[in-house]
Symmetry: C2
């Protein structure tokens, strides 16, 4: 880690915080943000915490034109004891660098950025909500800012971290969703950017998501872009199926995002001695398991919902009702244990939690 | 066309214009830009021409996170008589709306935006360079500006048009390039966003482009994302091959961008009674034509270069030298005729030119 210090420019005003029962996702932001610049002579430089405020960016900045950008998403949680927890933040920063590599963005110093995130979270810790299931969402992102509209990697970037207090994902307890298999649109394909957390993947998903919402579904289940035969992801989550006592998830193949929750679920299942198999998973085989009555549970995994049980799956005019549309036992156990670790209610056998304390944030 | 009027706020300062011999592509911008906003209650509203200046945008604006953006590129040319020409601008605005549809961005009023572009170009007409091969590049783009980091179509957008004087693409006459067939990375796939002019496609292309430049090639030739067998595009251009007296280009298939120059080349070849065939084009068949000595010419087409002859094509350690690495007759004739029409040196049998005059711009 280089010897950087984060300059802090404290906000003169403290904004009003939203009431707990009015918390949404991603609409309200805290008093401060972290910024760091990249230029070709200087590399990454000038790390600073400043008041949350609009960015001033040239209209020719590359990010507006050619989508050279990456992002991450993680959360800070208050424990009942008043500790502040991050959940495996180093995994997000490792992935940010993998995304950077795919998008030709210069790598960041992961250890330093983690320190900077801790410092920012600690500074705005009054914004971390304390009610059941609430948290502070942390959004690091990098945009290409060179004022040049040629198609080439930018020579200038900004890394920014913003924070948003978010409400409980399940306001009335964990609840299964209705998913539709997407047959027309494709999220990405091997050799594309599917493994990277970059805007273009999400932009590409909007149309299918809009059409499926019109038909009353919550998310789409993406098939592979090559043969439209193999299961990839559900919405912006990874996906798991419990079939005949074993848990299956699509193997990472170059087009599936490597989720931190996905990895945690796999480790947790192994810890419980439940067989978990990562392999190519055909939608045909899933349907056969349904007909054979061996498809026991299905769920998505992601930072927002942690575990999102799938109660109904629609595919080519067939409706699969999974576990009678109810949350399965494994889904529930995973949800309870993972959120238990995140909120400090359960012990953390994997050393996944990183505490944010006054001591371990960078000296101000 | 709705009854809109473009408000004009004239720039107090007139920036210094670059010298003709220092003109590059896309680094210098004119004194003014056009902006129009979209919001859910108002729709597209407040069209205005303002001094070219940085945008002030919230760090949570969707465009920075989820890549929901589209753009276009076209040019204004000065004729020897002092007329200002646009080349088929309505095609760009039609495509902008097709891109909008794919990206869940509300449609624009094409006729009105064309008028606004003319008004902007006319206002900054002193920026149109007059030397051989130079022009004023016009970049309309739309970004999603809602301050919300949920994955969903934005409820707020900005449509912006900026102008950049650009130098001649070929400073020393039209010149063939070296192209490498890309076998690892993929630009897009059917069901993806390849038909749309959206940032994510260009972000996805950077890595392959960087690797091919390191090996001394100018551009990559993209194969289809499904079988990596069929030719799609070259760099950010469409591609044509003359084989045994006939001209072939990949048929539009859902992942190829429908280029305005591509369409113009097809029409021009038909006008000349040269057979032109749009079909699925296997790289294997192209190589066979090369071995048979029937591969006579190859060239890319796009707004920037108009025609970019391909002198060498590298594929799996094989080097194909096309037309002895020289610009072919058809390539040259297309380049001369298309640029001739654009600059008003040749007659325009297709009615492709749209003049920009004081009279036909919106009343100020």
């Amino acid at each position: 880690m280089e010897e950087w210090t984060v300059k802090v420019n404290h906000s003169a005003v403290k904004k009003e915080k939203p009431k707990t029962d009015q918390l949404e996702f991603g609409r309200v932001f805290t008093d401060h943000m972290f910024i760091m610049d990249y230029s070709v002579p200087l590399g990454w430089h000038d790390p600073r915490i400043v008041p949350y405020e609009p960015l001033t960016i040239d209209p020719s900045a590359m990010t507006f034109h050619y989508g050279q950008s990456v992002f991450e998403g993680l959360k800070a949680y208050y424990t009942p004891e008043g500790d502040i927890h991050l959940f495996r933040p180093e995994k997000n920063l490792q992935r940010l660098n993998r995304s950077n590599d795919r998008l030709c963005i210069p790598p960041i110093d992961e250890a330093f950025i983690l320190q900077a995130i801790k410092q920012l979270v600690y500074l705005d810790k009054e914004w971390i909500p304390t009610a059941e299931g609430t948290s502070l969402y942390i959004r690091p992102f990098i945009i290409s800012t060179e004022p040049f509209i040629g198609v080439a990697p930018s020579h200038q970037y900004k890394l920014i971290v913003i924070l948003s207090p978010v409400g409980a994902y399940y306001k009335e307890g964990i609840n299964p969703v209705k998913i539709a298999v997407e047959n027309q649109y494709v999220r990405t394909v091997k050799g594309g950017t599917g493994e990277a957390k970059t805007g273009g993947n999400y932009a590409a998903s909007l149309k299918a998501q809009e059409l499926c919402a019109q038909k009353g579904f919550t998310q789409v289940l993406w098939l592979d872009g090559l043969e439209k035969k193999y299961i990839e992801e559900v919405g912006s989550m990874n996906v798991f199926f419990k079939i005949n006592g074993k848990v299956y998830t699509p193997a990472l193949n170059g087009s599936i995002l490597e989720g931190v929750t996905r990895n945690s679920v796999i480790q947790m299942l192994q810890y419980w001695n439940i067989p978990v198999i990562e392999e190519k998973l055909a939608i045909d085989d899933l349907y056969q398991a349904y007909l054979d009555e061996t498809l026991e549970e299905a769920f998505g995994t992601g930072t927002a919902a942690v575990i999102s049980p799938i109660g109904q799956l629609s595919w080519e005019n067939k409706d699969l009702y999974i576990n009678e549309g109810k949350t399965g036992k494994i889904s529930k156990a995973l949800y309870d244990t993972l959120t238990g670790i995140q909120y400090g209610r359960e012990k953390d056998p994997f050393d996944w939690i990183e505490k944010v304390t006054k001591k371990n944030t960078v000296k101000q």
